[in-house]
């Protein structure tokens, strides 16, 4: 489904990704771990199409198509979804209006009818319940006044509504208490399926206790330095990242990207 080949990316002339190679097949869940500043979030944003990063080399194929040649909205319509680490607050625009607009552009792209407000509510009600979200949230502005946990749940809720083929979850577990983590993990697990791939970007191993990955990759200094099965995450938890960094090139001091 996703084929990343020798991907290099930089921001403001500073190289962050230094040759990423990764393939993800439909039905698989990949965890991408690594210390702060290793390039995890950059990778997530580059895949979603953030324009502030420059791609300096490499290619990314999504279902055989050139992903890097697509606009962010085209990627979303093709089925790529990024759950943000820091979801943005959009003042004055209700969740309902925003999510329905998003769903309808994606539905249109897939050749489905657009949903009116009533059909939309019917469709999403069940998904709100799974993520334990209050229906009144739909009438509130996007993420405005949401707690950290509510924002993260809202990201997973959006994923459940938009039903992407490839979901990239950027630090979705950070800042969650254990109850919220369970709800979010449950939401993620329900979306696992043979046609959907997921990439979980995380600093901690905690989420992986609840969402068990098929593969674990460790990113350090802009490269994948180690890949393995789910046990690799446990190993990292015990030994820390320093154990791996010794095997990679030294991280430049002062380089820090979330």
């Amino acid at each position: 489904m996703l084929e990343i080949k020798n991907l290099h990316a930089s921001i403001e002339g500073r190289e962050i990704l230094r040759g990423i190679n990764l393939s993800v097949n439909a039905g698989e869940v990949h965890a991408i771990m690594g210390p702060n500043g290793s390039g995890k979030s950059t990778l997530a944003h580059v895949l979603a199409g953030r324009e502030s990063y420059q791609i300096t080399a490499g290619e990314v194929l999504f279902e055989g198509k050139d992903l890097l040649g697509m606009l962010p909205e085209e990627r979303a319509r093709e089925g790529v979804f990024l759950a943000f680490q820091y979801p943005v607050e959009i003042a004055g625009v209700s969740n309902m209006y925003f999510l329905r607009a998003a769903l309808n552009t994606i539905r249109k792209h897939r050749g489905l009818d657009e949903l009116d407000a009533i059909d939309f509510l019917k469709t999403v009600r069940e998904k709100m319940k799974i993520l334990d979200m209050d229906e009144t949230l739909m009438n509130r502005p996007v993420n405005e006044g949401f707690s950290g946990g509510e924002k993260k749940r809202n990201e997973i809720f959006q994923m459940a509504v938009l039903e992407p083929k490839l979901a990239i979850l950027d630090e979705t577990d950070s800042g969650l208490d254990i109850d919220a983590l369970r709800i979010v993990a449950d939401g993620i697990n329900r979306l696992r399926g043979p046609d959907r791939a997921m990439a979980l970007v995380t600093h901690y191993q905690r989420l992986l206790n609840y969402v068990v990955p098929d593969f674990v990759h460790v990113l350090a200094d802009g490269r994948i330095v180690k890949s393995g099965g789910k046990d690799l995450a446990h190993e990292l938890e015990q030994k820390g990242y320093a154990w791996l960094e010794e095997t990679a090139e030294p991280v430049k001091s002062g380089v820090s990207v979330r």
């Binding site: 979603a48 199409g49 606009l71 943000f84 943005v88 959009i90 003042a91 004055g92």
Partner: protein
């Protein structure tokens, strides 16, 4: 020295029959106003209050008095004009004026018996004691040239009087329509007197049909009695080449609550002055404003909140969305008089620039003469947030729509403060249409 156009304007100055008699109280006022305008002339940019708004173009146009006779406007001609649609919506009493003159055919002031909603000309003719007691007593024609000009031309407009203790649920919509086919000036005058303990919502809309240059110079005086609740909407969607100058002067009694909404969408040059005097203890006012400018439009909002008595509260939020080479001015004064202890005042002006070439001059001014008060103000000027746009795009919404959505969201908290649901929805739709038009024009560039 008085310029040619000013002379021309004044030459159209006449008196209707009632006022012809010497010694008529209104004739005296008009005489004083015209004399004052003769002295003041049109304001120049040398005046601090007009520094960023140049009306010299106005002085070059040979305005005629807007035609009253022979203009027949039908409901059909107003179709598609969204503010007219709002006025004609069910559940709205309306007073319609064509080129400043009352249209009995288009109006429908079906109020309960106790409220008077009629043409000012009729009220003057009928010698309404309230008109005599209040008309031209608040808007300062001795200080402001455009008020002087309007006052000199007082002839017709809306007169609304709500007696004490009445709650008027149904909004009253005053619709001023300009249909000029040649450069014309009209000076609509509205007088709104809301009695003690009463409640009323009044919408004042200004729209233009056709593309001819014209001047609307409107003055509205609102008197809010003790403990009254008044909501006033001033909605401006004049045609492209119009000059729109307006003054809203509010006098608040003890414990009254006044909300003023001012929305500027159309016109080539707009100047709005809103002045509220909290002239009774415990009075409260909210001033909400929204201006959306594109191409070479210019909108200037000057507001004055004058806290004259203790325990007053004021809240002000003015927001602007500026596109293309348009420009806007916000000048908001808050005055706290020596007596006005325990005043609580907050002012905010926020601007979203959608173009590098748009300009905004924002000037908050606080003049505080009491020592136990809370006053806060803030101004912001910014461009659409790149992170927000990316967030929306990452959900499948294209760049153009994402920007329109953010802009709409920016404006929405002003519209959210409107209590008339139907009107708010119409404004939202008009806003979305306007914004997507702006975005489309931009994406073609």
């Amino acid at each position: 020295m008085i310029a040619t156009t000013e002379k021309q304007l004044l030459s159209t100055f006449g008196f209707n029959k009632t006022l012809n008699e010497n010694g008529h109280w209104l004739r005296d006022i008009r005489d004083r106003a015209i004399a004052r305008f003769n002295e003041l002339g049109f304001p120049t940019t040398k005046l601090e209050d007009w520094k960023y708004t140049n009306v010299s173009a106005l002085a070059k146009i040979p305005f005629e008095a807007a035609a009253a006779d022979g203009v027949i406007l039908t409901r059909e001609q107003l179709r598609g004009v969204f503010l007219a649609e709002a006025a004609f919506a069910e559940n709205c009493n309306r007073l319609v004026f064509v080129n400043g003159h009352y249209s009995g055919e288009l109006s429908s002031p079906d109020l309960c018996d106790q409220v008077i909603a009629t043409s000012l000309a009729k009220a003057i003719h009928d010698e309404s004691p309230s008109v005599r007691a209040h008309l031209a007593r608040y808007a300062a024609y001795d200080l402001r040239a455009f008020v002087a000009l309007n006052t000199a031309f007082i002839e017709d407009g809306a007169f609304i009087e709500v007696p004490a203790g009445a709650v008027i649920e149904t909004p009253i919509h005053i619709l001023y329509v300009s249909t000029s086919t040649e450069p014309a000036a009209s000076h609509p005058r509205s007088l709104i007197v809301v009695g003690d303990r009463s409640q009323a919502r009044i919408i004042e809309s200004h729209v233009g049909l056709g593309d001819e240059i014209y001047l609307t110079n409107a003055v509205t005086e609102i008197i809010a009695g003790q403990n009254s609740v008044v909501e006033h909407y001033k909605l401006q969607d004049e045609s492209h080449s119009a000059f729109h100058v307006s003054t809203v002067q509010v006098e608040q009694g003890r414990d009254s609550v006044v909300t003023s909404h001012s929305i500027s969408l159309g016109g080539k040059l707009t100047r709005n002055d809103v002045t509220v005097v909290l002239n009774g203890e415990g009075a409260e006012c909210s001033l909400n404003g929204l201006y959306i400018t594109s191409e070479r439009q210019h909108v200037d909002n000057h507001t004055v909140i004058d806290h004259a008595k203790p325990h007053g509260t004021s809240r002000e939020l003015y927001k602007g969305i500026l596109c293309d080479k348009s420009s806007a001015v916000f000048d908001g004064s808050i005055i706290v008089r020596t007596d006005a202890q325990k005043t609580d005042s907050r002012q905010s002006n926020k601007n979203l620039l959608l173009s590098e070439e748009a300009t905004i001059n924002s000037k908050p001014q606080l003049e505080i003469n009491a020592d136990d008060v809370k006053c806060a103000h803030g101004t912001s000027i910014g461009h659409p947030d790149e992170a927000s746009i990316f967030y929306l795009r990452s959900r499948g919404i294209d760049q153009r729509e994402a920007q329109a959505l953010l802009t709409y969201g920016f404006a929405n908290d002003v519209l959210d403060r409107m209590s008339i649901e139907g009107l708010r929805v119409r404004l939202e739709c008009a806003l979305i249409a306007r914004l997507s038009h702006v975005a489309q024009t931009r994406s073609r560039e």
